[in-house]
């Protein structure tokens, strides 16, 4: 569906849409909760949109492990 280099910009776009964080601020080292101030419901919205965009499944127990943006990018890369 998309190669590795497209995942981060695509994910950043979703985060901006859902939470209003500028896409440029969504970098691999950022923590969704601590750095980007994203609450649990917004995190679910991001996951739902990411599933749709990248054709992956992100089960709830996996979602809980995605602490940083890089965690999410890696998960999507492994599972798409």
């Amino acid at each position: 569906m998309s190669d590795n280099t497209e995942i981060l910009p695509g994910l950043a776009e979703i985060v901006e849409e859902v939470a209003g964080v500028p896409a440029a601020d969504v970098t691999g080292d950022k923590s969704f909760t601590d750095d980007l101030d994203i609450d649990s419901l917004s995190m679910v919205e991001i996951a739902v949109q990411a599933e749709d965009k990248f054709g992956v499944k992100i089960p709830d127990d996996e979602l809980a492990n995605l602490k940083t943006v890089q965690d999410a990018v890696d998960y999507i890369q492994r599972n798409k």
Binding site: V18, A19, G20, L41, V44, E45, V48, E51, D52
Partner: protein, 415 residues
């Protein structure tokens, strides 16, 4: 004035802030100005679904200012339209009150709605049916729930004393003010952000009200379609909007030097238990609500110089209300019907008209009723057709009635 809560007692409930977004304007002052200018808020409904379903009603009273112009994009996408307007009006009122410093556990939010998040329910159901589960919004439930507007306002303001959402159809906004008044008097909170919100101009609501024959079909002349008390009236015009008051215990307001618009002196509630939608023709229930409002405010019928009528422009309702006002108060109050300009804001109407009543008492002027060219001879009250100055206007009532037999009457007095 012998009652427990006399003229300037510390636990009187005063109004220290107002906010509104309506078909007449995006703020409370603009709405009030619109009422005084006789501005019209009713226009044609150009949505494509009017043609799609060949709806007999092709007019509406839409918002003057879109809430998405006021809220941030992210805020707006997380809120149903009825929550959006509630938040817009609440923020205006809070700023108007001077953003009071208050312990969150002494701050409440009481916001009613008649229909709630119907737009979200419909939109998300469409998505589920046409595109499947993955397209259904994560926030569907918090957006459609009827306490959604109250919860959105309460969360924004960090109102921890309590967040409540009275639901009584077109009396919801007034009932919210009544409950907030009561909770402040009972000592549950020092300040309440209170009012009503509605935004449900959608195919199914228009179709449903139209099927009841409750709405005006004066499609060729929207500006004159809402004509309370006029012989030519043929139903209400569906509107949208929100109204909010900051209600505050007098000693709290005075201690911080707040500007005081007036006093919410009392509230009376009752039910007809007569018919699911029709008013009880003798007006026994509505009369009781007026009497309770007077008693709670320590007022007598002769004190009331003005009545802001519910008067939706339906053939039966307007007459029943006129009869009630005559019976409970007499011929002297100057009556007006704001819906002639705003259309019917359903669960927001009591709050928006409450603000108009408050300002009428403050300024000693009653906005006229538009489109009243041919007074129905069965109307016995004194309806103002142009702006009327009322000398020494000390007290006024605001009536709100809702499907389900709900009657809510608010009493406002001059500070």
């Amino acid at each position: 004035m012998t009652a427990k809560h006399s003229a300037n007692s510390a636990d009187q409930v005063v109004v220290t802030g107002i906010g509104a977004t309506t078909p007449l304007g995006g703020t409370a002052p603009e709405t009030w100005q619109g009422l005084l200018e006789g501005r019209n808020g009713v226009g044609s409904n150009d949505a494509p679904w009017v043609d799609t379903f060949d709806l007999p009603v092709r007019i509406k009273a839409g918002l003057k200012v879109e809430p998405t112009e006021v809220l941030s994009r992210v805020e707006a996408r997380r809120l149903d339209r009825c929550q959006q307007v509630a938040l817009v009006a609440a923020r205006e009122a809070w700023a108007d009150a001077g953003e009071p410093e208050v312990d969150p556990v002494r701050l409440g939010a009481v916001v009613g709605t008649g229909i709630g998040g119907a737009m979200t329910l419909l939109d998300q159901d469409d998505l589920l049916e046409t595109q499947g589960l993955s397209k259904v919004a994560v926030l569907t439930i918090p957006m459609l729930m009827p306490n959604g507007p109250a919860a959105a306002v309460g969360l924004w303001a960090k109102a921890r004393a309590g967040v409540h959402a009275p639901v009584s159809a077109c009396a919801s906004g007034a009932e919210a003010l009544a409950w907030a008044w009561r909770m402040i008097r009972d000592g549950d909170m020092d300040i309440a952000i209170a009012g009503g919100a509605e935004a449900c101009i959608a195919p199914i609501t228009v179709a449903g009200f139209a099927q009841m024959r409750a709405m005006s079909t004066r499609n060729d002349d929207p500006a004159t379609a809402s004509r309370p008390f006029d012989l030519g009236r043929d139903g209400f015009i569906l509107g949208e909007g929100a109204g909010t008051m900051i209600l505050e215990r007098r000693d709290h307001a005075e201690a911080r030097g707040a500007k005081i618009y007036g006093v919410l002196a009392g509230a009376g509630m009752s039910n007809d238990a007569h018919h699911i939608t029709a008013p009880e023709p003798e007006g026994e229930g509505t009369t009781r609500a007026i009497e309770r409002a007077l008693r709670s405010a320590d007022l007598s019928p002769t004190d009331i110089g003005h009545v802001n009528a519910h008067a939706t422009s339906t053939p039966v309702g307007d007459i029943a209300e006129s009869n009630t006002v005559l019976r409970a108060l007499g011929e002297h109050p100057v009556v007006t019907a704001n819906k002639s300009m705003t259309g019917h804001l359903l669960g927001a109407s009591g709050a928006v008209e409450g603000i108009a009543t408050l300002l009428a008492v403050r300024d000693g002027i009653v906005p006229g009723t538009k489109n009243l060219n041919d007074l129905d001879p069965k109307v016995g009250v004194d309806v103002a057709t142009t702006n009327r100055e009322v000398s020494d206007l000390r007290a006024a009532l605001n009536n709100s009635f809702g499907f389900g037999g709900h009657n809510v009457v608010l009493a406002f007095t001059k500070n």
